[in-house]
């Protein structure tokens, strides 16, 4: 069944719907300018897959594996902005408000989890948790 690929179950959003994750790129240009960008793809279908990847990264307990996945996402951003000096990838959890909280004005918030600095000269340096 594993070889055939038919062993997978259907337990999405069960038993409860988890919160999401978000990755923001901080693009540092040589002239000191800083821009912010999200991982981008061309289609909505691919966007769903990227969100799945971010959720997967959020669940990973292994630091090296998480860093590797963030790095590959960062490389994609780098290809689009080749003149950037350094990219800081900031990974965080999205905290969703309950219905009651939303009625009282609370909106989805972003909780910092990890940040990685990537530059062409130096290897990745985990900064904080």
């Amino acid at each position: 069944m594993n070889l055939a690929g038919i062993e997978a179950g259907y337990n999405y959003f069960a038993p409860n719907v988890p919160g999401g994750y978000k990755l923001v790129f901080e693009l540092h240009y040589p002239d000191g300018r800083v821009e912010y960008e999200l991982p981008s793809v061309s289609s909505h279908a691919a966007g769903l897959r990227i969100q799945g990847l971010l959720d997967g990264i959020g669940r990973i307990q292994h630091d090296v594996l998480r860093e590797h996945l963030v790095k590959t996402l960062t490389q994609s951003a780098w290809r689009e902005h080749p003149d950037v000096k350094m990219i800081r990838a900031v990974f965080g959890a999205i905290s969703l408000p309950s219905i009651t909280e939303f009625k009282h004005g609370k909106r989805a918030s972003y909780q910092f989890l990890y940040a990685y600095d990537f530059s062409l000269e130096k290897p990745a340096e985990p900064k904080d948790r």
Partner: protein, 348 residues
Amino acid sequence: MQSLRQRLFEFLFPAETDIWLTILRFGLGLQTTLYSLSLRRDWNELLGGAGIGSRDLAEALLSVEGHLVPRLGWFVALGEHLGLREETVLAIAWICLLAAGCGLLLGLASRLSAILAWFLHLCAAGSGGFVSYGVDNFMTIGLFYLMLSPLPDRYSLDWLLRERRPRDPQHLGFWRRVLQLHLCVIYFFSGLTKCLGTGWWNGSSIWRALIRPPFNVIDPEILVRGAFVLPIVGVVICLLETSYPFFIWSSKTRNIWLIAICAMHVGIGLTMGMYLFALIMIILNVAAFGPRFGLRKAANRLTSGYRKRTHKLAGTEHSFHCAPSSVHTSLLISTVATSVLRIRSTKG
């Protein structure tokens, strides 16, 4: 005991037309085509060795599961031997997948198209393990059963142009039954797991699912106005999925459950933007439990030849869904079925 085995045999090999197979083939052809087209611009980015999907890493993890698990890396390695770049190999794989989808849509080279679509999609889903989700699992399941089913169906181009006919029409019922059982297991455990979460009983899971990026298609301000509906929707989904295996079999409740479960998937597609996921679930459900148009007439036509043959051989009329000689040829039929088969042959 013998009666029990006979009933089990009759349950596993019911009389069936190929309408469900037409739905499955056409539906999966459409799904595969749309899947390929939706990823056409991101295919290389998602599945490239150093792309977003970290194919190299995903395939390394696949190797832990087993070296025979299909992956795109095999084609990339083969391409390297032939002097082809990774991008070229991936582009060829995408074109082949699209062609297989179109082949299934038209029913042209149905079996080859089904095998190609299943294998390439499985490779893509495995190699893009980090960027795959539910739609990939269910496409693989659907394509797997499709390639094993007795293709071609009567509405395919193969049937019209090449006059190719499946030699074992009684397998139609068996493969539909397997798909039906698989869906029942899937929905039952999905519903049961949801029932264990408090969020599905008080509506908070529905709320979170609908406001969670990138599924936040509906403005939360609109959702808040209809907040009283959310707990009802959550409970209905739990009950609908858990009770699926119990109510989908009875002819009295089948259509109600089928319509309800399809409506649920339409709702998921429209409110969460998961169109391909909704489509594949609807295809599998309609193929598995959709109406059995013209069953009696078609079954009689398909099996009339077999009846004549068994009269000659044994002098006794068997029910039309029992075809021992052809059942023996199937490698995938369970031991239970074959043991029942021997008893029936002895009886004849």
